[in-house]
């Protein structure tokens, strides 16, 4: 079976800094993979590599068997950005953001057709944002903001979703709502790669997990990866000193 996400031997350097060192990652279709690591562990760089935003010194990326460029052109890759990367004061409505998911499907003027409007309405309904669709994007709560970007990926009909820290700045109740939504997407056949330094949601959400610290330290089921011995082996000293290396 073709892997949904396949990264092999990815090495990325920013100047003299080695950001990713021979990273390999394979996620089968219809699975949720948690990408775990501290700040600066290379999670974001790996996302950028998969998205084709930073050139890898070596290694390759395949999305459902396609090269990165081909996958992007087919709209296979959906991206849910970290909260800090979004300008929440930008004058767009929730509906406008979700419609941007359709831009790969429409003509050069990006004019929406009835089918696109339907896809947007459907995505808004799936994420329970229909009633908030005409609000400015920043007038949403933390959890609603995340769901708006997930709705954009749904409207895009992306098969593979990359979610960068979806639980950051989200309250407990919204965490559960988001987890439920993501599991529904998985059950619909989508593949999710979820980066997080918040481990609380990992067992409930992820089918598998990868522990990253510039290279892959551990991979397996969430239980295996989250075992204290594994975490200790990876971050032994810091874990003992600080109690938990995961607090942001």
């Amino acid at each position: 079976m073709t892997a949904a996400i396949e990264v092999t031997g990815a090495t990325v350097r920013y100047g003299d800094v080695l950001a990713l060192d021979d990273v390999g990652l394979t996620v089968a279709p219809g699975r949720v993979c948690g990408l775990l690591g501290t700040n600066g562990s290379g999670k974001s760089t790996l996302f950028k590599t998969i998205l084709g935003l930073v050139p890898a010194e070596s290694g390759r990326v395949r999305i459902l068997g396609h090269t990165g460029t081909a996958a992007r052109r087919r709209g296979l890759l959906g991206y849910v950005p970290q909260a800090e990367q979004v300008d929440w004061a930008f004058p767009v409505r929730v509906r406008d953001v979700v419609m941007m998911g359709r831009y790969g499907h429409v003509g050069p003027r990006r004019r929406s057709r009835p089918a696109d409007t339907r896809a947007v309405e459907h995505a808004l309904a799936r994420t329970h944002l229909t009633d908030l669709a005409d609000r400015q994007i920043g007038a949403l709560s933390g959890g609603q903001r995340k769901r708006a970007f997930v709705a954009r990926a749904i409207a895009q009909e992306a098969d593979v979703l990359l979610l960068d820290e979806p639980f950051a700045g989200v309250d407990k109740r919204s965490e559960a709502t988001i987890t439920e939504l993501l599991l529904q997407l998985r059950d619909g056949g989508r593949t999710l790669l979820v980066s997080t330094h918040d481990l609380a949601q990992v067992p409930a959400l992820c089918d598998e997990a990868v522990l990253l610290q510039r290279h892959v330290i551990a991979r397996g089921s969430p239980e295996e990866v989250l075992r204290p011995e594994t975490l200790m082996a990876a971050f032994g000293v810091r874990a003992q000193e600080e109690g938990s290396p995961w607090t942001p």
């Binding site: 950005p81 790969g104 949403l140 709560s141 933390g142």
Partner: protein
């Protein structure tokens, strides 16, 4: 009372009897509206300094155009776009930060322009280039402004959704196969052309005001991008008319008057905007986003 009404009517109608005032109004309004439309994206992307850079960098192009007898837009475009490209190259190939690169390139170009002006024998009046001469525009100038304005507005009409996508989330653009670098280049190209349009109205020094202030003003007044475009254009058109009239009646600089009129609009929005105004915000505290209905 009658004399007051007559006075007000005269204030508006008397200047219109002069052809040069009619032409100035046309150029100022068209340039103002085109700049205002672009200013919405400039404000959101954060390109104020880039607007300043491009406008100053066109000076040598304008001078050389006069020297070779070309429409001044040709030289201005070459140097405007060339400077943007140069900024990009130096930025990518050195460790110097972008704002410093912009500062180096545009002052260098401006200096080159000053040196050229002092050596090139021509009837070019440096003052007109630097500060605008909208009361003395020729037919050729008017045609250049109209054609370039039409080009900018047509491209914007065709690509406005992509430009907004680029301003909001270039990574998503990339992820769905839309090249953000291409959109960035398009926006910079539009900026170059727009600067040339606005040169006629307010001159090189004040062009940057025209591509920032209307957008910044509208941004304080609305949360919807389409309304932002409309408000910015309306502010700019009103400011253009106000500026030309003030300039006529008070015998003061036209470019300066137009920009001051825009700045007045910005000040009013800054103080009294229903939601963003500093005076309003003291009384009505905006509900914090997190306080929106639980998710």
């Amino acid at each position: 009372m009658d004399t007051l009404i007559t006075g007000v009517v005269d204030w508006f109608t008397v200047p219109l009897q002069f052809e040069f005032v009619q032409r100035a109004l046309l150029v100022a309004v068209v340039a103002g509206v085109v700049c205002a439309v672009l200013s919405c994206w400039m404000t959101l992307v954060g390109w104020s300094l880039m607007g300043d850079a491009v406008s100053h960098a066109v000076l040598p192009g304008v001078v050389l155009s006069f020297l070779f007898g070309l429409p001044f837009a040709v030289g201005a475009l070459v140097f405007g776009a060339g400077s943007v490209a140069l900024i990009g190259v130096v930025n990518r190939t050195s460790r110097v930060k972008e704002d410093a690169v912009i500062g180096v390139v545009f002052t260098t170009m401006f200096a080159l322009g000053l040196v050229l002006v002092s050596r090139v024998p021509s009837q070019t009046d440096l003052g007109h280039i630097l500060f605008g001469n909208v009361l003395g525009v020729s037919d050729a100038d008017i045609w250049q402004v109209l054609v370039l304005a039409a080009v900018v507005l047509a491209v914007v009409w065709f690509k406005h959704r992509d430009l907004t996508l680029y301003a909001f989330d270039p990574v998503h653009a990339h992820a769905v196969g839309i090249n953000p670098r291409l959109l960035e280049t398009l926006l910079l190209g539009l900026l170059s052309v727009t600067v040339v349009v606005a040169l006629q109205a307010v001159g090189i020094i004040l062009v940057v005001a025209m591509v920032i202030i209307p957008g910044a003003t509208a941004y304080l007044l609305t949360d919807r991008f389409e309304r932002m475009l409309a408000i910015a254009a309306a502010v700019a058109a009103l400011a253009a008319v106000t500026g030309v009239y003030a300039s006529f009646h008070l015998n003061v600089s036209t470019g300066g008057s137009i920009v001051l009129a825009q700045a007045s609009a910005f000040t009013l929005a800054y103080l009294f905007s229903p939601r963003q105004g500093v005076l309003r915000r003291r009384r009505i505290r905006r509900p914090r986003p997190r306080a929106a209905t639980a998710s």
